[in-house]
Each structure stands twice: as C-alpha cells, then as structure tokens.
C-alpha cells in the first residue's frame, strides 16, 4: 500500500499497522499530518480538527482539504493519498539540498576523477568584440556563414569541426563526405503553397533539413538492426528440400 509507504517516509508512528479504513484512525492521521508536517492551517481550524468526535468534523475537514488545493477525488482514501503526497513534497522542499546531493548525476560527478580545475573558457567574455571578431575569422576560415550572434556562429563552427575535421575524418574523408547526386529541389513539389515565393523557398529548405534528419534516424535504425543481426543471424539453405512443381 502506498499510503503506508508515505506514512513511513513521513515518520508517522506505527505506520505499518495503521488501519486507514477506520474512521477514527483516518481522522487522527489527518490531524497528525497537519500538526507535524503540513503546518498550514490556522490555530482555530487545527483545534476543530483535533476534536475527533465532533459532528462537524467532516465539514471542517472538507474545507481544510479544499484550502490545501486538493482536487475533487472519488474516495476519502484517494484524498488522503493526495494529502500525503502534499506533505512529502513539503518535506522534500525543506531538505532539498540533502536530496540533490544524492541525485544520480551528482553521484556520478563525484565519482569521476576531478582533472581540470580551471577551464580557461570560463573566463571568456562571450559578448566582447574580440570574441565576436575571433569567431568571425574562424568561420571565414572554415567557409561557414556568419550569424549576427557569435554564439550561434560558434555552434555552426563546432558542427563543421566535429563532422569534418575529426582526425579520422581528415585521414579518410571518403568515409564521411556524403557523395550524392544533386536533386533539383527547386522544381520539386512542396506539397502545399504558402502563396509567397520566399516563404515557399524557406519551407522547401525546412523540408530538406527534415528529410536529412529522417535519413540520419533511419541510418541509425539500420545500424541497430545490423548490430542485432550480428548476434541472431544464421541463414540456412538446404537444397535437398527443394522441389520444383508442375
């Protein structure tokens, strides 16, 4: 039962043996949660809630949960589930720093050897004229179109370097440089008309980029299949089985 797990998490006394179907226990759990964990209701409301045998208890509770922001739910147990979740969230926020320290990424970071203490790039001023000029020069050297925002130009430059100037790529360019036959995309049917030649041209270019994305995805899918085939494939033929019909 997730109710009990939540109660355990919140350190509710004897959480394992609690019977939530019992009306009185239910009421006392609500009171305990408000008093020890949520601590959101005014004193007067808390006092009324604490009066477990009161005839008006339900009315008070109903207003209390609405004030917490509990949505309309099917049963009282579902409402309790929601309130428990709310309480856990409050606890979590309170001790956020503790939990974050245990998050997977951070644990990984901690275990990784700490090599570079200082990254010289951290001290760069990306908005300085010097930086912009440098990037421009780099882009020109690589035949890349310059974008007004030097950071975007840098991204493009990075792509060019990663895709075309990696050591293996420089040594075996045939493996990386795509050889294709040109396709007159200007004449191809776009499939729709935006009634503006410039927009149509832009849409066609987007189509091309999309098709390239799809191609890369399909190539990756094919590579995956080939990898699996290296484990499973075992084609057999047996000519003795063959029989020509009439």
């Amino acid at each position: 039962m997730s109710h009990k797990r939540f109660l355990n998490t919140l350190d509710y006394p004897q959480a394992d043996s609690v019977n939530l179907n019992d009306e009185k226990t239910f009421r006392s759990v609500i009171v305990w949660l408000e008093e020890n964990r949520i601590k959101g209701a005014p004193q007067a409301v808390l006092a009324k809630l604490k009066d477990l045998d009161s005839k008006d208890w339900h009315q008070v509770y109903s207003k209390y949960k609405d004030d917490l922001g509990c949505p309309v739910l099917e049963s009282k147990l579902e409402e309790l589930q929601w309130i428990l979740g709310y309480a856990v969230q409050i606890e979590h926020l309170k001790n956020k720093n503790v939990y974050i320290k245990h998050a997977v990424e951070n644990l990984q970071k901690e275990n990784a050897p700490n090599v570079i203490a200082e990254n010289p790039l951290d001290n760069l001023d990306f908005r300085s004229q010097e930086f912009a000029d440098g990037i421009k020069e780099l882009a020109n050297a690589l035949n890349t179109v310059v974008h007004p925002d030097p950071l975007i130009t840098l991204k493009a430059v990075r792509k060019v370097i990663c895709q075309r100037l990696a050591p293996d790529c420089v040594e075996n360019p045939d493996k990386y440089v795509v050889k294709g036959t040109p396709f007159p995309y200007q004449d191809s049917d776009l499939g729709f008309d935006l009634k503006d030649p410039v927009l149509n041209q832009a849409a066609k270019i987007l189509r091309m980029i999309y098709i390239q994305d799809l191609r890369n995805l399909q190539t990756k899918a094919n590579e995956l299949i080939v990898a699996v085939q290296s484990v499973t494939a075992n084609p057999k033929t047996d000519t003795k089985l063959g029989k020509v019909g009439f």
């Binding site: 049917d189 189509r207 080939v226 057999k236 033929t237 000519t239």
Partner: protein, 506 residues
Amino acid sequence: MVVRQYQQELEYLERLSPYCWKIKKGFQPNMNVEGIFYVNQTLEKLMFEELKNACRPGMAGGFLPGVKQIANVAALPGIVGRSIGLPDVHSGYGFAIGNMAAFDMNNPESIVSPGGVGFDINCGVRLLRTSLMESDVLPIKEQLAQSLFDHIPVGVGSKGIIPMNAKDLEEALEMGMDWSLREGYIWAEDKEHCEEYGRMLNADPSKVSTRAKKRGLPQLGTLGAGNHYAEIQVVEEIFDKWAAGKMGIEEKGQVCVMIHSGSRGFGHQVATDALVQMEKAMKRDDIETNDRQLACARINSQEGQDYLKAMAAAANFAWVNRSSMTFLCRQAFAKQFGLAPDDLDMHVIYDVSHNIAKVEEHIVDGVPKTLLVHRKGSTRAFPPHHPLIPVDYQLTGQPVLIGGTMGTCSYVLTGTEQGMMETFGSTCHGAGRALSRAKSRRNLDYTDVLRKLESTGITIRVASPKLVMEEAPESYKNVTDVVDTCHAAGISKKCIKLRPIAVIKG
C-alpha cells in the same frame, strides 16, 4: 437484377475526360456512391465489349463484367468516395481485379470483404537493382537463369529450400520481414524500402487455420504458379531522371531483378476460410449485397476482425516469401559473378503489395477520415512527402512497381498528389487479363508461345510449359496502354521502363 439492353446500359456511363468514365447510380441496384474507371481508347473498347457480351441473351454465368462489378462494390455498406476501376481492371471473384474501394472505419455499418483483397493476399512486386550492365550479363545469361531456377523452386506444389519448422512459421507470420532480418536472410535496408516496413503489426497467427499453416509451411521461398515470375530485366527507358537516380537507376542498360509473388497456398486458404465465416456473419447482421461473391462482414464484428488479423498474417507470409527469394537471388548472382551481393549493389528499390486491405488516413470531401482501403489488383501510390513512404523517396513520391506480362515490359511509376486526391493514392498493378485462362488455353499453342519468346532473345525457364499460354502476352492487355493511361490521367507518373532478358516461372 434488372435486365437491360446494351444501349440502355450505356445511359448510365458518362465520359468525364479522355481517360475516365463515371458509372452513375442506378447502373446496379442500391449504389451508395458512384463508380469511376480509367481507360484509354484501346482499353475502353475492351471494357465496353465485355459489357456488350454480357448483355447478350443467355450470357448468364461466369464472372460479371468489370463495370458491373465496380458498380456492385459501390453498393456495399460504408463505402466512401467512389468505387474505382483502374485501367487494368478485369472481372474477378466478387470485386473486379483492378478495383479499389475505401470504407469508413467510423461507420459501424462499414464492411471488410475478402473478395476485395483477393485470394493471393499481399501478392506483390519487388524490384532489386544491380550495378551490372546488360553487357555483363548477356554472356552468362543462360547460366544465370538456370542458377535462379535452381535456387527458387517454381510451380504448383513446389517446395522451398529454406528449412522451416512449425515454430519458425508462427514467428514469421507474426514478425513478417523482421523475421527474415532476425534470421539474417535480408539486409536492414530492405525493410526500409518496403510497404509497411514489411510487417503488419495486427497479424495474429492464432486466427489462422491449421490447414492454412500446413499448406504454407513448405511453400516459403517458392515463387508459385500462375502469373508469378522472377525476371532479369534491363532498363530500357528513363522518363524521370531525378526520380530514377533516387532509386539508384542511373542509365539505360542497367540490370534489375523483379520478383512477382504472393502468399501462395497460405493466403488462399486464409481467404477461403474467411469466406465461410463471412456468409454466416452476413445472415446474422442482415448485410445485403448485389452479388453472393461479395461476402463480407462488418469491420467491427468478430468475423471482420478475425479476417483482418489473419489477412495481416498472410501479408507477413508474403513478405517473408519475397524476402527469402531476394536472398536466393542474391546468392545466385553472387555465385555466377564471384562477387558479394553488396559489391553488386543488389539493393531493394521497393516492394509493393497489390492485393491487400489497409487502414489509412485520407481526406474525403475536405474532412480527414480513417478508412479501410481495399486494393485488389491495385497498387498504393502515395505522393511526395507522405509520412508512410521511405525517406529516400520523400521527394519523388512512392515508387510503384508494375509487372508486365511474361516477355513484355515492366514499369516503375511514382505516386502523385492528384492520385492521392482522386483514387485514395492508388494506381494500376499490371497488364490485367484480356482472355480468361481457359480461353487462352483453347486459342494458343504453348510451343508457339515459347518460340516467340525465344525469338525475342528472352531466356525462359518454366516448370509447366503446357500452361504457359495462359500467361502469354496475347492473353493480357497491353501493359503500356495501362501505364500510359495512369500517367495521362495523372494518378501516377512514369519513371522507368524495364525489358526482360530472362524469365523464370511456374
């Protein structure tokens, strides 16, 4: 049924354009939508002659003429748009072969009909390219044809050379080409260039009778008989240089291999089993049709769902079958040329199904609708940018493979936007019969047919020469007429013409 004179019948037919005729409501009783058929002048004559013959007194029995069948399909519950006859249309069981019809999935009355798929479920065509030229192949053409013939068993009752047991078959029925991939018979790129990626996901082998499985098991990897064949072809003409380039066809004389086959006895048994079930369902649900052969069931009924699941399994069977033959073809070529199939660049250009029912999205009268599209003797032809066609063909439109008759030419077309709007993205599938099998046997002599083929320089290996006249070019409509009509009507576009240099068949 109403009996009318030929002249009276003609009043229901109206020419819409030089390539297309409308069949008005009332031509057959209870038509929900109009019919339409695409023909050129030559094919038009054949169509009308067939109708005229049927109007002569005492001509009852046999199949109804194609036009009548198109109109009867227009009377089926739930049909949307129009009942469409493609240029190669000819009479078949219930539905004419070359008839496509779409049914609204959201209409509870809509039906699925095995007659609208055909007995050879997922019969289709696959085209492999090679990097070879005609001059490379001609010196060893005979040996190559013999090698193909040795690898791919043909004919009625033939058995395949890929060992399979009952468990393999169950898996193959569920997985389609993924099974062939897993077992290593084909390449990853083959799946990419196949309709539905070679696997119908709703296949359920438990809906298939044991009898069908027993018939199917030994037949995997066999070509079968009838109009099925494997041909070595050369590119004779390129109409669309760019689209052909995308398919890896660069110049005239390039060698290709075409495989035309289906689901063999397996699909036939699935269809037969379903027809029995459907007759019961029709009685129960009070479904009325103009023709007993149009047995059908509501899509949402148990029978309808069972059929769709079994049909999908048969479709998967056919894909595995064509994949196995692809494997065997590659082996045969590799042996003859002493090169690996990859070095011969033996890639699948595409694989089409021309006997199948599929759930597709289409725009009907401006509204997007989910339809169950029956294509019997009709090929899907989706336009450029359609999400269901491979990425390599996004700019050209889906390749449509049109197998000609034995010894004549074949074509590759591409899908068009106009076809998408007019015919639910469908086009013709082949030549289409002009003479019935019996008539061909009576009128033609098999030695003449074989001699004629030889004189045109085509090597032929055939399991049953005495049946070869059934498949003689004379028994069929001219595939060029058929393709030209589709091109002129704009429902698909000519791309490549291929001519056979060697044929193997049942």
